[in-house]
Assembly symmetry: C2
Homo-oligomer: 417 residues x 2
């Protein structure tokens, strides 16, 4: 008998039929002899509808009141799922975030979990109840209702799994698991059997909102074993855990790409200390998220540097840089959109030199010119022009032997990188 | 500067336009220099929609989970109303029932208020905030969410007014106030300037769900001054309080009627002690609400008695009586629907004999035969066939001088009753 946390997203409980299917799925798990704690998001479009209504009343609704409003979405879901479970003869009990013991800080709209008091959840498990907990929400010490912001429901599930020492935290979603790359782009993309937290973090863009990085970080910190699987079939899914059994043998686990990339370059910046801090401090202040930063060499006491932002933040980034000109007399600003960031990710990379060089090889054979490069222990990212992306991804996928059906040792070049 | 509790029902906040109008109304009250605590029901059909969805999942949803579900309706209302108030530049704060300090017993679906801890509401008033409280809901000492059942939002408003010692509790609704009788039936029906709690209780059927008896009882017990008024205009409304200034002079304040009446008669019941207790105990057990009970004289050691129930409970009542036959060998059961209960209500009645006789006179002049009669200190009810009801009500309305434009001394017959 294991203790499971099962998390179902909004599309999995989008209508009463799906709600019933989820209830059946939970009942099956119980019939296998397991204890179940379930975390649910708001049904389908509920959250968007609530936001729309609020905006009709007030273009800038206060965050505290939005939290009061939004948390009803999950409360409706947990109540209905519990009602559905009772409908098939199961003893279930639903809890709001605060009832389940989620204590957060006071940052309405994107609160952080301070602690979880799981006594009520554990007491219900003792009574052999299926416990249904509202995702995405908590309460401050002053009794104010908060929401956890983006990735909140995933984080709820993982945090709860850690607090009650669950054996597994299953994230049910609309895809089968984590793939070696986007199966819509590359036909030979394979579902990964397992993957490490760090790799998962790097691959977070794959499969869109399958698993929020924040939840993965939390899982890593508390060593919660995650399984990403489909709520629509019984396929096995992908296990996310610290050490994957075949880790040493695998060089590249997956290939991620991000089409939402723009580059900004600032040319002819005086080479004095504190310049980067000034530029990126100001960007951060204005809420612009910078991804890759590259500084080229210094010539004539002037430096050039480039950074990437998401496409929709390009205009804001340029405005910020323009404003900085008053205090930082650079020569010129250029920018470029229509770019893609392609990344190869693999925990085995660190012990296999030459992986990056192979990537550059493949890109060059595809006739692609590389704009920027960024590397980490387990990742190489190249920013390139968005030419024939499917062909490029497919070429990389084949080059790193990801087309084979199982994760296995990949005999990549050993003497380069 | 007064402290107001303002209660708005579901139809007053049925859509965003109405919500804005309510926000404006509250802002106006604040501009007049008053402090405001607002109680709101769920928007329009929200509650019914939630029930429908639940029933699709489970024909008999558990009460505890239904409370989790239903309370979201009011939480949405309070959040949106607060958002609307912020939209017009007001500092408002919304609270769920439990946040506002409502502690109830554990009877899910129809919990009773045990106590109210108003500290949070009072602290918000100190901060010059408009406080918006979700009606209809509370929490048990164990942190379980409960609903107060029928009349719950009115009761929330009155109970909160008592707890924070508000000067007035205004119940905003879709009618102008309490009328001397139904203005849809009698053109000369007048809005009452004031009325006592007891009269209000008897007149509860007038104007349908304008004010729930439970809230009136609570108001009477805690001496909360109520004002029933329209949320769609600024007319004055009706004041409900203990002693109305002109009480001594008024004989009949209003005429109520209820078309939802059926009679059951049990004939030839053995005249032994405990018979009534047996019959009405069983009916109560089965949840059948009995209104008027009349027992006729005893002949040959057998009694006949009759009682009224609401039309939709007639079949259940007859079933119960049928079952009782096993242990109570009565001779015959008859029943009759298509009846009306007409009541004249007035606190002054007690000091004016002959009021009942005048009613019988009027009914007889209208050619109506009276089926049952029931009286109290401030009320006479007659159950009659539902003939030409408008004509009957109009005749009574005129006979008791209710057509005059102001409440005033009514020189009714003094030597009869």
């Amino acid at each position: 008998m294991s203790l499971y946390v099962m998390k179902f997203g909004g599309s999995s409980v989008g209508d009463t039929e799906r709600m019933k299917r989820v209830a059946k799925r939970i009942a099956d798990k119980q019939d296998e002899g397991h204890r179940c704690v379930v975390v649910v998001s708001a049904m389908g479009d509920t959250t968007d509808d609530l936001i729309d209504t609020a905006k009709q009343l007030n273009g800038q609704p206060p965050a505290r009141e939005m939290d009061m409003l939004m948390t009803t979405g999950e409360q409706i879901s947990v109540a209905l799922l519990s009602i559905a479970l009772h409908g098939i003869g199961r003893n279930a009990v639903s809890y709001t975030g605060w009832q389940a013991g989620f204590r957060t800080d006071e940052t309405h709209g994107r609160a952080r979990i301070n602690e979880i008091d799981p006594r009520r959840v554990l007491a219900s498990l003792e009574r052999e109840q299926i416990v249904i907990v509202a995702g995405f929400q908590g309460m401050t010490v002053d009794g104010e209702i908060t929401t956890l912001g983006r990735g909140g429901s995933d984080t709820t599930a993982v945090a709860l799994a850690a607090a009650i020492q669950a054996d597994v935290c299953e994230i049910y979603t609309d895809v089968d698991g984590i793939y070696s790359t986007d199966p819509r782009i590359v036909k030979t993309a394979r579902k990964l059997k397992e993957i490490s937290y760090d790799e998962m973090l790097e691959l977070a863009n794959l499969g869109a909102a399958v698993l929020h990085p924040r939840a993965v970080e939390y899982a890593k910190r508390h060593q919660v074993k995650l399984v990403v699987r489909s709520s629509f079939n019984h396929n096995e899914g992908t296990v996310v855990k610290e050490e994957t059994s075949m880790e040493q043998g695998i060089v590249v686990s997956g290939i991620a790409f991000d089409k939402n990339v723009a580059r900004v370059s600032i040319l002819g910046v005086p080479d004095v200390p504190g310049v980067l801090a000034q530029v990126f401090g100001k960007l951060a202040e204005e809420g612009v998220n910078v991804d890759i930063i590259v500084q080229s060499g210094v010539q004539n006491e002037q430096a050039d540097f480039s950074f990437t932002v998401s496409l929709d933040e390009l205009d804001r980034a340029k405005e910020v840089i323009k404003e900085i000109h008053k205090t930082l007399p650079y020569r010129e600003v250029t920018s470029e959109d229509n770019l893609v960031k392609v990344s190869i990710v693999g925990a085995g990379m660190v012990s296999h030199p030459g992986v990056a060089a192979q990537m550059f090889d493949v890109l060059s054979q595809e006739g692609v010119s590389i704009k920027m490069v960024s590397t980490s222990e387990i990742k190489v990212s190249c920013v390139i022009e968005s030419g024939n992306l499917p062909s490029i991804i497919q070429a990389l996928h084949s080059a790193y032997n990801l087309d084979t059906t199982e994760q296995a040792f990949v005999g990549g070049p050993k003497d380069r990188r």
